[in-house]
Amino acid sequence: MTEPSASPRPIRVSVNGVDHERTVEPRLLLSDFLRHDLGLTGTHVGCEHGVCGACTVAFDDQPVRSCLMFAVQADGHRIGTIEGMADGETLHPLQMAFWELSGLQCGFCTPGFLITARDFLARNPDPSEPEVREALSGNLCRCTGYQSIVAAVLEAARRLRQAPPARFGKS
C-alpha cells in the first residue's frame, strides 16, 4: 500500500515531446518544476492561485494552471509549454497573428493566452468575438486592453481554417 511520504521521489515527464527524469519533493509546483528544474522559463508565474492564467500549460493536451498542480502529479504525463508551440523556426499561426496585430506588449501574459487560445480554436475553429472574449476571460493582461489579443485570435482562427498547420493541436 502507498504510504504518505514527504521524501523526494523520481518522476518521468514528457515535455514538448522530450522525456525528462528528475527527483522532486511532493510540494514542488509544476510551474516551478518547468521553470527551475527544466529551465523552461516561457511558462510565467503571476498569481500562484489560479486567477491570472499566465502559467497555463497543456497537460495531456488540455490547458491547466501549472501553479495548481504538483510536479509529482505529472509523472507519466505529457506537458506542452510555449517553448513547444512553434515548429522549429516557423511560428504557429497564433504566434504570427499576435506578433503582427500587437497581441502583446510586455509579453508576460502571452504564453498563457497562446496555450489557452490554441485549445479553444481546436474546439471552436470559427468563433464569434464574444466567444473569444469568454474563452480568454480566465487570462489577465495588464498592458493591451485585450482588443488586440481578441483581434489576433480571430485572425489566427481565419488563417487556421484556411491552412491548418500539420502540428496543430500537438503539444
Binding site: M1, P4, P26, L29, H49, G53, G138
Partner: protein, 294 residues
C-alpha cells in the same frame, strides 16, 4: 506563496484511499482537482501534513445514466460534463450551469466532488444539488456507505455533513421530470468569477396548466445555497399563465441572509437576488412552454 512541506500519496483504488483516510483522518486532506485546495496550500491558508491525491482512482470518475437518474462520480471533471453531448437532454440545468464555473483550464482539473465537498455558498454545484434534490454518497471504513440528501449535506459556509474520514464518492441526480423548464442566471464581475448572486429555477405543470412543485434556489446570497420555500409555495398550484413571478421573487429575496464583502454589499446582493429570480422564473416558463429552446 509556496506550499509548506507535506507527505503525499496517490492511492490507485477507492479501498486504498478509504484505508488511508481511516489511518490519517485528522492530519490528511483529500486532493481532487486542486483548484480550491491548490490556492489554499500556496497561500499557506491550509497546511495539512498529508495529502491523499485521488486523481488516480478511475472508478471515481464518470457519468452513469439509468432509470433512477444520473450518477456522477466525484472525480468527474467539469470539462468532461461540459463536453458530454448527452448531458443537455438528461439534465438541462447542469448543462446550463457548467460553463459558468470558472474557466476552461480550471474546469479541466476541477471536479464535481471537490466543488460539492468545498461547499462554497456562491458555487454552482451546491445550488444544483439542492434544486435537483440530489443525494450524495459518502464512504468510509468506520461508517460504510452513507447516502445524504443535498439539503442535509450542506450545513453552512464551507461546512458539510462529511466526517473527516469520509470520502465523497458520487452524486445521484433524480431524472428530470417530463416537460420541465429550467433557467439559471447569475451575476458575476467577470465571466467565470464566483457569482455575486445567482438564481436557478425548475418549473413543471400538470395537464391543466397549474404549476406543480416549482423550485427556486438562490446562491451567493447567504451561508449556503437554499430553496426559497415561501416563494415556491406562492407559485405551487397556480395557473402558469397568471403566476406572479415578480411578487414571488420579492418574497424569495426576504428568505435569504446575504453578506457584505469586498465585492458587494448585502443590500446589493438582495436586490440582485430579486431581479435574477424574477427573470429566471420568466425564462423557465418560456422554456416549459416551448417558447425558448436555448
Amino acid at each position: 506563496m509556496k506550499p509548506a512541506p507535506f507527505a503525499w500519496c496517490a492511492p490507485a483504488t477507492l479501498d486504498e484511499a478509504l484505508d488511508l483516510l481511516a489511518g490519517h483522518a485528522d492530519a490528511a486532506r483529500i486532493l481532487a482537482g486542486g483548484q480550491t485546495l491548490g490556492p489554499l496550500l500556496n497561500m499557506r491558508l491550509a497546511t495539512p501534513s498529508i495529502l491523499i491525491d485521488i486523481n488516480g482512482i478511475g472508478e471515481l470518475a464518470g457519468l452513469h445514466p439509468d432509470s433512477a437518474g444520473l450518477t456522477i462520480g466525484a472525480l468527474t471533471r467539469q470539462s468532461t460534463l461540459e463536453d458530454d453531448p448527452k448531458l443537455a437532454a438528461l439534465q438541462p440545468l447542469i448543462a446550463m450551469a457548467i460553463p459558468h464555473i470558472a474557466h476552461r483550464a480550471i474546469r479541466n482539473r476541477g471536479t464535481v466532488g471537490g466543488s460539492l465537498a468545498h461547499a462554497d455558498p456562491a458555487a454552482e454545484w451546491p445550488a444544483l444539488a439542492t434544486l435537483l434534490g440530489a443525494h450524495l454518497l459518502a464512504r468510509s471504513k468506520s461508517r460504510g456507505r452513507r447516502l445524504i440528501g443535498a439539503e442535509e449535506f450542506f450545513i453552512t459556509h464551507l461546512t458539510t455533513a462529511l466526517a473527516p474520514d469520509e470520502l465523497l464518492c458520487e452524486v445521484r441526480v433524480p431524472p428530470s421530470p417530463p416537460g420541465a423548464g429550467y433557467a439559471m442566471l447569475e451575476f458575476a464581475r467577470r465571466h467565470g468569477d464566483f457569482a455575486l448572486a445567482g438564481a436557478m429555477v425548475r418549473l413543471t405543470s400538470d395537464a391543466g396548466g397549474k404549476l406543480t412543485d416549482p423550485r427556486l434556489v438562490l446562491f451567493g446570497t447567504g451561508r449556503r445555497a437554499s430553496r426559497a420555500r415561501r416563494a415556491e409555495a406562492m407559485l405551487a398550484g397556480v395557473s402558469a399563465g397568471t403566476a406572479l413571478f415578480a411578487a414571488a421573487a420579492a418574497t424569495a429575496a426576504t428568505e435569504i441572509d446575504p453578506y457584505d464583502d469586498l465585492h458587494a454589499s448585502a443590500e446589493y446582493r438582495r436586490h440582485l437576488a430579486a431581479v435574477l429570480a424574477s427573470r429566471a422564473l420568466e425564462e423557465a416558463l418560456a422554456r416549459m412552454n416551448g417558447k425558448r429552446h436555448d
